[in-house]
């Protein structure tokens, strides 16, 4: 018998994770927002206060008199999660409590209507982890375009037609804007890479000050794919360079998840009805496809995602066996 104390890291892996967002909520099957919230709280544990912006996550998790939250949770309005979280943090500081405050907002509540509150919270250096679950449109109100919607995507307010090829504008680079507040830590993550996501949450929690996690969170309803494909599609967004997984400290890039063999963007787009109009036999459609590929190519080059090329022993890459990314190889 081995009576030695087990390695705490191994012990942690064997233990059931804390379920801050429990099952039974009303999210669609394959909802990226639900996965994001669950993974984040698995990493935080129970000693948190949560502020939640209006949106899918709030609506599906708290139909009175039920609630799926097992942590203290408050929802106020659409555009103030950053400020409500800031107030909670100020209260905790005044009371000498060291509980961490987490804010959740969708892309609408973060990139658009809640942007002012987010910027203020970051600038004033509140000790808050802000998590944006980015499903790239106003899904709760029925799939309208946001400033996070990718270029050329179809939404109900950016429909393709004779005169238009979906959204005319680019996806806002929220991470760079957030990082421009000189905050200690800002990162992107994806529901397709849970250990990476949890690691980034733990990293953010260890920092005293504002931190930001931007999580790519598929919406089967809005993106037009089977709920069972959410993780595969989220993975393709990373593997094509459409959603690079990066970490920034004080505005500088300090970590990227490499892509050893970037896949063509069309493989990511083809699986989603919101990009279907790009695959018709049409010059404009081809042009937009090329445009999206160029965006991915730019991301790959700008963040140096390919590193030094394929590496048989690589365990860090987004598309390695370790990451579950070899299934299409």
């Amino acid at each position: 018998m081995d009576h030695q104390c087990p390695d705490p890291d191994r012990l942690r892996l064997r233990q059931p994770r804390f379920q801050g967002l429990t099952s039974g909520h009303r999210a669609c099957a394959g909802c990226g927002a639900a996965i994001t919230a669950r993974l984040v709280l698995e990493a935080t544990g129970p000693d948190v206060l949560v502020a939640n912006a209006t949106g899918c996550l709030e609506v599906f998790s708290t139909p009175w008199p039920e609630s799926a939250w097992r942590v203290p949770w408050i929802h106020s309005l659409f555009e103030n999660a950053g400020s409500v979280a800031a107030g909670m943090e100020a209260a905790l500081k005044a009371q000498g409590r060291d509980t961490k405050v987490i804010a959740f907002g969708g892309d609408g509540g973060t990139f658009d209507i809640g942007f002012r509150a987010l910027s203020g919270m970051l600038e004033r250096y509140h000790n808050v982890l802000y998590v944006c679950y980015d499903n790239e449109a106003y899904m709760n109100t029925g799939v309208q375009r946001s400033s996070s919607t990718p270029h050329a995507a179809r939404t109900t307010t950016s429909p393709p037609g004779k005169a238009r090829m979906g959204k005319r504008h680019l996806k806002k680079d929220i991470l760079s804007i957030v990082a421009a507040h000189h905050i200690p830590y800002a990162a992107t993550a994806s529901v397709a890479y849970p250990p990476d996501l949890r690691k980034k949450v733990r990293r953010a929690l260890a920092i005293e000050g504002p931190t930001f996690l931007h999580v790519h969170s598929p919406c089967p309803l809005g993106w037009g794919h089977d709920g069972a494909l959410s993780i595969e599609i989220a993975r393709l967004a990373v593997e094509t360079g459409m959603f690079p997984l990066i970490e920034l400290e004080r505005g500088g890039v300090t970590g990227v998840m490499p892509i050893r063999n970037p896949r063509p963007v069309a493989e990511y787009l083809r699986r989603q009805a919101r990009f279907r109009h790009l695959f018709q036999d049409d010059a404009k459609a081809r042009e937009e496809l090329e445009h999206l590929q160029a965006i991915a190519d730019h991301n790959i080059e700008f963040y140096g995602l390919t590193g030094h090329g394929p590496d048989a022993l690589d365990t860090e890459g987004a598309d390695t066996a370790h990451r579950g990314g070899m299934r299409w190889a």
Partner: protein, 390 residues
């Protein structure tokens, strides 16, 4: 001993005496001096709180919402456009029954841009579910601030303390600041039972369907009505402690034979008192001051108006397409009363126009039996308008 203090400074000192743990505010004239004075008290180490200098009034209200939900005593102040910007949050705070205190330095609302005093801002949020108290002078503003925290925390409702911008906020008066001992005795530490706490995780602000929504609104409506008792108790207990009367719900005074009443809110009450004292030839007038506008204390108003043939309502706001908010509310209340006074409504002092002593005489002269449903701007100068707008 009274000290000469600017209204804003006195309010800031009163706030500090209440020991809020979180203060959030955004500058807006004429509220700015309050937050400046609080900032200086904090900087000088005389007031220990988390002072959050937010990026908008929307966030000022949101920060104190979050702070109070997490169990901290919280305070903010604003005015005019700021009150309108935070309107969505004001409804949210009361709907969630989160107790906190806001000072509203009453000011006109744009357009046209005007930074001076009237009460349009408060009238614009009259249905937001807040307790709304209007102060007659700066001493009452100080005393009401202390009372407001107790009322808020006992009712679990937010309280808006309304003080006329500039007229009160920027005026030096002799103020008797209460002692820390008196305030501490009156105001025990805030213990919010529903605070956000990992030891007892609850969900606040959930989605409520039609199955429950009317019941929640009803409970909120009843809570606001029931707050009358706490407002009266706070005024009574405070007077017992410091020996100084503030108004409670409604104040009325005048000769017993008066058959005409003049009702107002805020600082013009003092002007009307002075006007009455200065003109002994005027008919006997009962001056009625509504200190508590929400909840609207109907029984107290009825008692204050007993025996009146004529009630003149002087408002510092106007409701386009209707006339006067308070006038209309009082007419509706008295509509089924057999002995109801005839009610005349006037807007005065809009956008900071001076309300002189002559206002009282003019209001009396303009309230004749042949125009009982009238509402007008009392101090209008029609010659400034083109013919078709007079």
């Amino acid at each position: 001993m009274p000290a000469a203090l600017e209204g804003s400074q006195a309010i800031a000192r009163a706030v500090a005496l209440c020991r809020p743990q979180v203060v959030a505010a955004y500058p807006i004239t004429p509220q700015t001096h309050i937050v400046e004075n609080i900032s200086k008290l904090v900087a000088d180490g005389r007031f220990d709180c988390e002072l959050v200098s937010v990026e908008s009034e929307f966030s000022a209200a949101s920060v104190v919402l979050g702070a109070a939900a997490a169990g901290a005593r919280a305070y903010t102040a604003s005015s005019s456009q700021g009150i309108l910007l935070m309107t969505e949050v004001l409804y949210d705070i009361s709907g969630m029954r989160i107790p906190l205190v806001l000072t509203c330095a009453n000011r006109a609302v744009s357009a046209p841009l005007n930074i001076w005093n009237d009460q349009q801002d408060a009238m614009a949020v009259r249905d937001s579910g807040w307790i709304m108290l209007f102060c007659a002078d700066n001493q009452e503003a100080v005393d009401t601030t202390v009372q407001a925290f107790r009322i808020a925390e006992r009712t679990e409702l937010p309280v808006m303390v309304c003080v006329d911008g500039f007229t009160l906020t920027h005026t030096l008066e002799p103020i008797d600041l209460p002692s820390q001992e008196d305030v501490d005795a009156f105001l025990p530490p805030f213990e919010f039972e529903r605070r956000l706490d990992p030891a007892r995780p609850i969900s606040q602000g959930t989605l409520v369907s039609p199955e429950w929504f009317p019941e929640v609104r009803h409970a909120n409506y009843q809570a606001l009505l029931a707050a009358e008792a706490e407002i009266e108790a706070a005024a009574r207990d405070w007077a017992g402690l410091v020996g100084r009367e503030t108004g409670a719900l409604v104040e009325a005074d005048g000769p017993g034979e008066a058959r005409t009443g003049v009702l107002c809110m805020g600082s013009i009450h003092g002007t009307l008192e002075a006007a009455r004292a200065a003109a002994p030839d005027l008919e006997p007038v009962r001056l009625i001051r509504l200190r508590c506008f929400r909840p609207l204390p109907l029984a107290a108003i009825e008692a204050a108006c007993a025996g009146l043939d004529r009630l003149i309502v002087l408002e510092r706001a106007i409701a386009p397409g209707l006339g006067g908010v308070l006038t209309t509310e009082l007419r509706a209340f008295f509509a089924d009363r057999a002995d109801a006074p005839r009610i005349y409504g006037f807007a005065v002092g809009l956008g900071g126009r001076d309300v002189p002593l002559e206002t009282l005489g003019r209001a009396l002269a303009s309230s004749a039996a042949d125009n009982p449903r009238h509402f007008a701007v009392l101090d209008l100068e029609p010659e400034k308008l083109p013919e078709e707008d007079r």
